[in-house]
Symmetry: C3
Subunit: 242 residues, 3 copies
């Protein structure tokens, strides 16, 4: 058996989206590796918002208590235990008011990675007291699926908060025509297995790699063409038979 020490990844995914991170995750699952994410998107740094460490699934999440970690924790099966980062022995001093990534979150995470006990990072919190982000809107009624734009990736693909299973419930399957309503606009697009199933420049709906309905222009930028930023309200329905 030959083993390789190292694996490199050459992609055009860029670093603006989570694609490369997902690949790292897969690698780490098969060859031992990534156990911990330090999440830092922290516009309230230096204010009274708390730093937290969460135990969820087989992971520990470290970051600000501003809701950033809430979807990740939910996806891991929910928060089992939560701790406020109050033990300054794990921090980098002097602690700045504007770069807690460097001074608090990463050092705490590194100490945990080096074997420190989760209980030692600070005082335990009631998990019900954590700040959570509202779940994205998504509901099905009257044979219509309603949701919002979850994200736009660097190719301009528009990911909706509508699951493929919800599309299925309102009678949309591969090969159907789909009516997309956003604001006053209404478009009819084919629902197919992949964006590459239509000609370059054509609009298409497909189930993306997260199991969500996405809108794309093959070899083009759907977000720009449709003017659909994250958060935009979108409704889907099966097109009436021609």
């Amino acid at each position: 058996m030959t083993t390789f020490d190292c694996l490199t990844l050459l992609t055009d995914y860029g670093l603006d989206d989570g694609f490369v991170a997902a690949c790292h995750g897969v690698t780490a699952r098969i060859a031992p590796g990534v156990r911990m994410h330090v999440a830092v998107v922290d516009p309230g740094v230096g204010t009274a918002r708390r730093g937290i460490a969460l135990e969820a699934g087989d992971a520990i999440l470290v970051g600000p208590d501003n809701g950033l970690l809430s979807w990740a924790a939910a996806a891991l099966g929910g928060v089992r235990r939560a701790f406020q980062l109050t033990n300054g022995e794990f921090w980098l001093h002097p602690v700045s008011q504007t770069f807690h990534g460097r001074d608090i979150f990463v050092p705490v995470a590194a100490h945990l990675a080096a074997g420190a006990d989760l209980l030692s990072v600070g005082t335990e919190l009631d998990t019900g007291d954590l700040v959570t982000l509202p779940a994205p809107t998504s509901r099905v009624h009257d044979r219509e699926a309603e949701g919002e734009v979850m994200s736009v990736d660097r190719f301009g693909n528009v990911q909706l908060s509508i699951a493929a299973s919800d599309a299925d419930r309102i009678g949309i399957g591969f090969g159907s025509q789909l009516v997309v309503r956003c604001g006053r606009r209404q478009l009819t697009v084919p629902y197919l297995e992949t964006f590459a199933a239509v000609a370059p420049g054509e609009l298409v709906a497909f189930t993306d790699s997260a199991g969500l309905i996405s809108l794309a222009v093959n070899a083009g930028d759907a977000a720009q063409q449709l003017g659909l930023p994250p958060g935009a309200h979108v409704r889907l329905a099966a097109a009436p038979p021609a």
Copy 2:
């Protein structure tokens, strides 16, 4: 003897070009390391195009059979054996239609890195059946070298498909004046050892780090100034004596 565990690289190369990857390669050559590249530039993801693993030189290349790997394999001495990725045991399920990097290529590569036998990834292919990219145009005739723009790096340097050795064959050496023809335009530029040999803002031709003739503006953007995108047709000749 002191050894270091780790080496970090601080550069202004950016991540848009292969520069950082080349540095990783050098590091891996001297301290053991990188043995495998997973290449993902895959506009046909989810269509009938095949996934492949290629043995070439002392490397294994994993990616889509769309020609992406063909130049790399040629540079490694050619494909020795080729396999279609048909063994789903190595994949991440459910396999999406749009993110085979995550679901097929990286997991297969990680399994190979962890010691799996290349024969186990799928069925062997006739190497003659692989999709290849056409080699870039380059020919010398009538004391003129003809080629195309291979790439434009993030500094705006324009790399031609004309080797320094071909320039030599038509009488162009360091210190010569060079006539560059593209479309109806004709420019005379000095051919020197490096872009920094001319004053800032000046145009220059030089042999780049891949042994190819490149056009640059010292501290400027040659591609923008000359309007030369990848694929543009270019001819070079020695300038007549003044």
Copy 3:
């Protein structure tokens, strides 16, 4: 004791600034790691400028002798020994004229990382002969602190070369109003503990994570709003009592 093999960092810092590097540094300090930086910002590549390796603090710095390493070496306590990279045995041949990162700096650094003696990279230099960058302007006189814009980060925060301790010397403390003069313009801004202490869209001065006075617009781009690029001259004073 549980140990983790690996730690990943999810941030919105981007890769345009030194934030991610700082986090790597912290990780490496706590779990063993980063010992060496290869610095490549090298517009004079291929000219007569020398390649150097510097011993400073417990680090070795490798790069061009164009001043790039001088501030880093000073921050590490000054250069103890300096060597010109003249030993071609450590280089990658053929050495290009335009990519010494790949051909000289990284291979030399990798050899050092693999245990080579610093004395073997080349001939020792007089440390007084090294090229140094001029230190950024910063002086205090007449109850005014004078400096320049050191950097603008990807959020548009404007870092000045004026230390918080200098602000203190001219009577500026948290909660003060600050008069900022740049060119003919004059602004009065509050000096607070963090940018998040003002309402979104409001201008604020604060002590940044490097101990320097910075100007920010909470949830906005101060550099763009104020028109302050790196190098711009700025003066600060305490606002007269209202």
